[in-house]
Assembly symmetry: C2
Homo-oligomer: 451 residues x 2
């Protein structure tokens, strides 16, 4: 919600009736995110028209919030001079994100219109490996020197702060650009003007290295509640910063990837509605194929007990219930463990505690479900106590087995440096199916003398 928020209908009307001066005035009071949204909803020609109307100081900010398709469209519709202005005003991380998605020919034109300095910086940032700290950082930070006074620091910030992603955390570097300390604007405000930075800077710096995994960067943000994290290269030189909004975006992306992997899909790069049918199919097919052929095993178990089924076809009617229930139980355990490991609540050293816990939970769940089932079976098939017995006994055993497989496999994957998320519902279900069918038919054959 927003007090004094913009009136969407008024905007549309102003644009419709070509009252561009008023429209421009209204937009200059709006939030960049809302302007970007307004532009995105226009017809292609109007997008450029509205975009060109923006006050200079808003243009690059709004541009960075546009979808890449719209960015491309605007780039292709403006002059080299206008393009050059945008590129210089964009933060490096936003420029890099955009360039990674644009077609090569557009990238070439963009880089040609950047100053040599910006071009070099962008090229350097484009080279950091995907999913590394370097790939999510930006270059616009405030760098101070240790011998500056608070007064000098403020003067420096006033002069250079406009274009920085954050001015609230400042970094102190030496002549070799090595990181020496951190000082916040709060520290500066709380100390007299003649204080020297080196006396108030914090030398216990939390930082990341360019090649570090971006997931670790996010963990550091969460652990220390940071607003901003410096990134250094392998010679300890400060090369960039990650701001909290970018860390939050990574967090959301990583969670989405886990959801996708746990549903037996390869993570997609783009939002669902923007992903083509072919790409979606490509992401989903590999696991479907693997799981399909694995589930043939369950079919084989069924055929092994063909004789028992021929003698007592009723046995069959409990197969889906057994398979579904044990699958669900395994799914619950694996989800708890995978998520617990992802947020750092469960570690590998907890494996025995987890198994012991799941064993007891499994036993309890199994007993309650078995009791409910036993009542139902005794009512529905009063003359068949041994069959009912066979069903509920195998139900308990299958549930306990499922709970244990469900918690052990993700931890095993983690131990083997695989992604635990692949050991989720789909694979667990297939594995647990085989186990529960085997238990069921063995128990039934023994109790009912079918073998």
């Amino acid at each position: 919600m927003a007090i004094g928020s913009y009136d969407r209908e008024e905007l549309d009307e102003l644009l419709e009736s070509r009252q561009f001066r008023k429209l421009r005035e209204m937009m200059s009071e709006m939030n960049e995110v809302d302007i970007a949204e307004f532009i995105e909803e226009q017809e292609p020609e109007k997008k450029v028209l509205v975009y060109r109307m923006l006050p200079k100081e808003l243009a690059a900010d709004v541009f960075s919030f546009l979808e890449v398709e719209d960015q491309e469209h605007i780039i292709n519709s403006i002059t080299d001079y206008e393009l050059g202005k945008i590129i210089e005003d964009l933060y490096v991380d936003d420029a890099v994100d955009m360039l990674e998605e644009l077609p090569a020919i557009v990238v070439k034109r963009v880089l040609q219109n950047a100053t040599p300095q910006t071009r070099n910086l962008i090229n350097q940032f484009l080279q950091y490996p995907e999913n590394s700290a370097g790939s999510i950082m930006t270059a616009e930070y405030i760098g101070l020197k240790r011998n500056m006074t608070v007064e000098q620091a403020f003067a420096y910030i006033r002069e250079n702060g406009v274009d920085k992603e954050t001015i609230y955390t400042c970094f102190v570097t030496d002549s070799k650009r090595c990181l020496q300390g951190v000082v916040t604007v709060k520290d500066l405000l709380m100390n007299p003007y003649d204080t020297v930075i080196k006396d108030i800077m914090d030398e216990n710096i939390i930082y990341a290295v360019t090649t570090e995994d971006r997931e670790d960067v996010v963990e550091t943000f969460n652990k220390y509640d940071l607003l901003c994290l410096p990134v250094v290269d392998h010679e300890d030189r400060l090369v960039g910063i990650v701001t909290v909004d970018d860390a939050v975006e990574v967090m959301e992306q990583e969670a989405t990837e886990d959801f996708e992997k746990m549903a037996a899909m390869f993570p997609s790069e783009k939002p669902y509605l923007k992903t083509g049918v072919l790409e979606l199919t490509k992401n989903r097919l590999p696991w479907l194929l693997i799981l399909m052929f694995t589930s043939i095993l369950s079919g084989t178990v069924l055929m092994d007990y063909e004789h028992a089924i021929q003698v007592l076809p009723l046995l069959l009617s409990f197969v889906p219930m057994l398979m579904d229930t044990s699958g669900n139980c395994g799914n619950q355990s694996s989800t708890m463990v995978i998520r617990g490991m992802a947020v750092g609540e469960i570690e590998l050293k907890d494996v025995l505690r987890v198994i012991w816990k799941e064993f007891r939970v499994g036993l309890l769940c199994g007993l309650v479900l078995a009791a409910a089932n036993f009542v139902r079976l005794m009512l529905q098939y009063p003359g068949r106590p041994m069959l009912s017995m066979a069903v509920v006994l195998s139900l308990v055993a299958a549930i306990v087995l499922a709970k244990i497989i469900g918690c052990v496999l993700p931890m095993l994957a983690e131990k083997m440096k695989l992604d635990p998320a692949i050991m989720a519902a789909p694979l667990i279900t297939t594995i647990v199916d085989v186990g529960s069918l085997l238990i069921y038919f063995r128990v039934a054959c023994a109790l009912l003398n079918l073998a």
Copy 2:
């Protein structure tokens, strides 16, 4: 990682050899999060010992990062005077979080040792509904007046800023505490000292209302890349702020809840390792029971075609593969849609686009899987082309059906104001199972003349 990070072994040694002065000195250079971690790893008596050693200005910060069990232990081991100091120094949101978990008798003692003002504030905050904006906000913000100059604002911040959660966003209120504008420290720094606040404050304020759902708060944070969001009551009076670190925590909790719901569990309040077996069982049983009884339906379908199975037992061997594959396909679609709606990428109005997309993806996946299966069947059962045909035809139909059910049900839940996350793998699988078994046996009976 941290430059000049603390040496854990040295800390242990200092504590072991009772060199408390050195230990205290070392801790005063450390990050509060790391100190809290160090305290948590000590024996109970040593926890209090180390905690009491902390410099005054660190004590409350470290306290807020401790687990609630340790907070309780420390509260029970210190004097009323010490307790009073802690309570006054804690941010209201941290105090409220803690009080919500402590036993009533401890809560009583804590409130008795707070000043009347703090006690009233805490009591007011404790009353906001769970999961509301009010329940995650805190009271320590910087409030300015519209007629202050930049110089006066800085003087005010210098005097009052030490205890505020953030000083970087300041809120301008009128005499009735109604929110009028927002001004950042960056704005203050970029303008001359004699500028009047009302001329530079932003009147287009993004804010939340105390009763608003905390999920909406998080969405606003993400949409506008905020560091801080003001919260007003129903009379537009500013009552608190939500800072980005708290929004991030909510984001993580909401994602965890979705993972749990999608695996047919009630979300747990506590981390896995701290949740008792009984509570885990209670969270998992209800859905297991519902799903177990629903899956009886699949068993009934099997029994309906008992005759066909008696005639051709081989039919059975493809049942698990059909059930598993269609379940997996439905799971993939529902996960995409549930997550897409959770992060705001997919909206209800997209329903036809989603169905059309899933139909095509389903058809493609189905055709590929059917082709792979057909090859395998023709090799394994060369004399049974009609059986192979029945299997692959029903496979394609079941997959398309699963994809469509998988995307429609979560959207239907959203439409009916239910939580879409319940329409995930477990329930989808059970529903899809019935459908795919019906398709399979109908097709098989028709093609193989079994009816």
